[in-house]
Structure formats: structure tokens, C-alpha cells
Symmetry: C2
Subunit: 334 residues, 2 copies
């Protein structure tokens, strides 16, 4: 860890409880849901859809929260900002964060909206279709940014999804400003291609203006950002974006792209893909941990692929067993 | 299904939310917990232990509840009696029951104890050690027994665990009485060997007096019941108990034992045992479904083994994908 930081990474995002249910393909058709998408839903729709779901599994989630939990599981020291309510789901969320070793002190929301939940429908191919009720997350704002924590983190990593709740965007920009003023890096994940469609010009502006130094994206998101169907065109645009791009390519592994260099790494082989939820989030855990510990770019990307392969072999976007063990077995010195 | 019943089985038990966490062997040693046991804990201990657990996965559970969910997953028509509170865990529990197709109408507990939860610690060998806070379950009693539902079920299946909360035992005996008065069968699961130690003489009395016709047990429980270290001795005692015994033998499959016949079936092969929670519960699902649908004893036991093998390949004691599909692929006509 760099000597002037307490945290390998500060992750900031919507604090969401994931409610998983396995469904058949025709469930998505009947509900007219685009497979692999994340849509925002209101209370009425949340109640209606929940009523149609069968057996559920409930696991703390949220993209940046998953990334923080992954860094902790690697043996790192992450922090997290995100808002839950004073309710049972919020209790579980806070427990899971602290229980895995994440520094998490964001003030809970009282007598107001409930903790956010995302109803995630898993189809037999392992794909997940997310229906998110933001609840307490829309009350997360710049007042929740603790400058001391930002100052103490080697990198501040934030979700594109923070553009959805109005005040969260201000928290993003405030955090980026503090991080840079202390000479630390700022990272964004593009979150999903639908999110990119909603905020394309703003995200491109963040890269161009140097608000973010490091961008995490998958193939669909990068193509959406640059409005092209051709991956090479998107990669060329990313190379000129001003930021370092960490690009996940599913079973084809990952790339890291900057003006100076391009590295490509293979995916880990996974025998039994159960649930793709969290693959990108855990890739980010490995990369952020690696960069904070001064790994070279290729090794950091390889650690990201190892973390991603681990999480897709079970339901949920959080590691079940310590990633530190898996990483050490994979030849990494943690 | 027999023409005079609406339900393949009525399952009665403690309605519990399972809170899973993966731990290393030394966690059990530090906490002085006997691996594979279920112990009852109070509120203070529940809070203390929860504070020591890392990342959790939350899934509706409870032994008889799991069995009911398994029957529904096979395409059967189960009912369930068990008490949860008017809280978020209770909402999830009721949702999961009804969402999978279980008839579940037990009155919720209001302004009183919270919904029960069992903190289940999974060690790397897939074994689970359970720490159960009974909460609202101790308010389940004979007034919660709907006679019309008992009368409409081919078999009434109840947990030995019902002997733990005082009033639940009365509900057990009332239900057995109603079932027999309608010519239906009554079944018990011995639940666990510690439970057998607590209530041995009463359980033996239930068999001798004909209160139960069918007993589910694993090897440890049957040996505990007859206070012998020798399985053959225990089996001989079971043969003379007056009841039909359905005995699970882990990776050695299962047996069905009565005065008239003994059948033995092999276990299904499981490549990756993740979590043994629910193996016995789901074995019961298969057997009860099979008997209600007039399978012969051997076929019913084989269906039980198939259901058990399905549930141990993932975390949680409820089927993730429909058991009906797995059973049909296994050659059963559902």
C-alpha cells in the first residue's frame, strides 16, 4: 500500500440489497424485460414484480459495494460510502460490509425511504436482469462525503449509477475534487450500457476534463459510450480519452488501454457459470487492489480476472470464501 | 394424488430465516461449537455471534418449510404451518412460501417477538453448524392448526424440533389426531441427534403409541434414538418400532425399513458438495411426494435421493431451479 494512504480504495455507490430469483426465459418475455439490463422501478412496480417471483436469495450488493467487499476479501483495506435506512435490510447491509472488513460509516436514513433493493432475475444461461428500487439511495449526497476518508484512499472508485439519484452526482464530483487535491486517483465504472445511454455526454466530459483518471467498462458499455458497433473503434476512442481504460471482455479476458500501452490478459477458465452478477465489480476489486499495491498493469488485470472468475461460480456478487486464498493459490503474493 | 385430498403433504415446523456465512474450521474451535449441531440461542447470543460473522447470504429455511418448498418445486401441492412475525424477514418468508406454490396462511405475530433466524456456519467441507434464535416460533400453538387443511392432506409431516417451543408440541399432537381421524398418515423427522437426546422417550412413545406412522432419520439420529453406536442394532429397533422408517445414509444413499420390507437405494453422485444444509429436508420432499402419488417405496426413496443431491450443490436448503425438471431428467414421471 502507498505509505501515505490508509485505504487501498474508497468505493462510492448505491447501497443495495440484491434479491435473487431463478426464472425461465419466458418470464422475461412475459414481463417484456431486456435480458442483462438494469432498470429503475418505483415502489408499486417493486411490489408487483416481487409478487411474481418465486424462491429468493438475499445478499448485500450494489456495484461499488461489491467491489469494496472484494478488496476486503483479498486482504486489502477498502472504505465505502453509500446510504441505507434504519431497517432490517440496512442492518444486514451494514453488517456485511463491516463483517468483511470494509470501513463503512455513512449515516443511516431514519424515518424516511427504506433500504434499496434490486430484484435480480437469473436465467438458465447465468445472465441477470436487474430491477432496482433506489429507496434510501436517493438521499445520499455531498454531506455524506467524509473528506478524511477520501484523503486517505489511494484511489476513489465510483459508479456511473451515481448519476441516477440527483444528489449523488454532487457527492461524486466533490469526492473526485478532494481525491485529486491529495494527489490520489479517481476511477469510474460505466455501470451498464443503459446507464451510458442516459449520461453519455457527461461521462465523456469527465474523461476529457480529467475528473476521472481510470475507467472500467465492459464491451457493451464502451461501444455505447462511443456509439459504435465496432469494438476496435471504441478501443481507439478509449485510448484517446485521456484516461486509462480497464476493459472486460467476458470469456475473452480483459485489456488495459492507455496512450502509452495496451495489455491483454486471458480469462480464468470457469467450469460452471452459475450467475454472472458481480463479474465486473470483482474484476475492479482485483485491479484496484493490484494498482494500490504497485502491481504492474498486467498483473493487476490478471488478479481482476481471477476475482471475476471466482464470483460467477455461485449466486451473488460477493465472494463466499476468502479471495486472498484463491489469489495466493493463483500465484499472487498478497 | 389420492382423490380425497387437496394437498400432497402438510408440513409443520419452525418458520426460520437462514443466515449463512462461510467460516474456517478455527472459527468453530474459537466459538467452541460442535460441528454439525443445532443449538438454540437467546437474543444476546444471536447479536454477539452475528457480530462475528462475515458476509452473509439470507434464504428462507426451517426444516419442514424446506420440505414443503421442495414438494412445490417438484410440481406437488404442499401446505405449511409455521409462525413468522410482521417484519421484513417475515415478509420474505411468506413471499418465498407462496411464491414457490406452498399453501401458507398461518397468522403472523404482531408487536411481539421478531421472525426466527438461524445463523448457519458453513465450513470448507460443506458441513453446517446451526445457531437458532426461535423468536416468533415460540408463539406457534394449537390455535394455529387449521383442521380443514390437515383433513385435506395425504400426510401430515412434522419436525421433532416442534418439541422445543412448548405450545408447538400441542399443535403437533392436535394435528396428528385430526390427520388420523381422516384416515391420513402422520410423519415425523427426528430433526437432529441433539434434538433426539432432548426428547428421546417422548419420540419413542409417539412411535409405540401409533401417533406417527412414518419416521425420517439420518444415521446419527437413529443411533441416538436407540442409544447405540451400531447402525444395524438401530435398524433392527426401527423395524420393530411400529412405524415405517425412511433412513438417509449420506453418500451411501437411503433405506426404507418396516416389519414387512426393507429397500435400499444408492445416492445420486454429486461432483461439488457446497453445503449439506437441507439434504434431509429435501429427501423428505421426494419421499412424501412419491408416496402421495402412489409410487412404490423404492421409487419414492430414489426421488428423495435425487432431491437431496440437487440441494447440496449450492448454498441454501431450498431448490434454486425447479426440481420437477431434474426429476423428469432423472426418469421420473411427475
Amino acid at each position: 500500500m502507498p505509505t501515505n494512504t490508509r485505504f487501498d480504495a474508497l468505493c462510492i455507490g448505491n447501497a443495495i440489497c440484491d434479491v435473487f430469483s431463478h426464472v425461465e426465459e419466458d418470464f422475461l418475455r412475459a414481463e417484456e424485460l431486456a435480458k442483462g439490463s438494469m432498470r429503475l422501478i418505483d415502489t408499486d412496480e417493486a411490489v408487483r414484480l416481487f409478487g411474481k417471483m418465486g424462491q429468493t436469495v438475499r445478499i448485500s450488493g450494489g456495484s461499488a459495494g461489491n467491489t469494496a467487499a472484494g478488496i476486503a476479501s483479498l486482504g486489502g483495506a477498502p472504505a465505502f460510502f453509500g446510504k441505507v435506512a434504519e431497517d432490517e435490510l440496512g442492518d444486514s447491509y451494514a453488517h456485511d460490509m463491516r463483517g468483511t472488513g470494509v470501513h463503512y460509516e455513512t449515516a443511516r436514513l431514519k424515518n424516511d425511504l427504506p433500504t434499496a433493493r434490486s430484484m435480480i432475475l437469473i436465467t438458465p444461461d447465468g445472465e441477470r436482469t436487474m430491477n432496482t428500487y433506489l429507496g434510501a439511495c436517493i438521499k445520499f449526497g455531498p454531506e455524506d462525503v467524509d473528506p478524511d476518508v477520501v484523503a486517505a484512499a489511494a484511489v476513489t472508485y465510483m459508479e456511473g449509477y451515481l448519476w441516477d439519484p440527483e444528489e449523488a452526482k454532487k457527492a461524486f464530483l466533490k469526492s473526485a475534487d478532494i481525491a485529486h487535491s491529495h494527489g490520489h486517483r479517481v476511477a469510474i465504472t460505466l455501470s451498464d450500457s443503459f446507464c451510458v445511454d442516459r449520461y453519455r455526454s457527461e461521462f465523456i466530459g469527465l474523461l476529457k476534463d480529467g475528473v476521472v483518471d481510470l475507467m472500467f467498462a465492459n464491451e457493451h458499455e464502451l461501444k455505447a459510450l462511443y456509439q459504435t458497433a465496432d469494438l476496435d473503434t471504441a478501443i481507439s476512442a478509449a485510448r484517446e480519452s485521456g484516461a486509462l481504460t480497464a476493459l472486460t471482455l467476458g470469456e475473452n479476458g480483459a485489456m488495459a488501454i492507455s496512450r502509452e500501452e495496451t495489455v491483454q490478459v486471458a480469462a480464468e477458465k470457469v467450469d460452471n457459470v452459475v450467475d454472472l452478477t458481480g463479474a465486473g465489480d470483482l474484476f475492479a476489486s482485483g485491479v484496484l487492489f493490484g494498482l494500490a499495491r504497485n502491481y504492474d498493469l498486467k498483473s493487476a488485470a490478471e488478479l481482476g480476472c481471477l476475482c471475476a472468475s471466482n464470483v460467477i461460480s455461485h449466486v451473488g456478487a460477493r465472494p463466499e470464501r476468502p479471495l486472498k486464498q484463491a489469489a495466493e493459490q493463483g500465484g499472487f503474493e498478497i
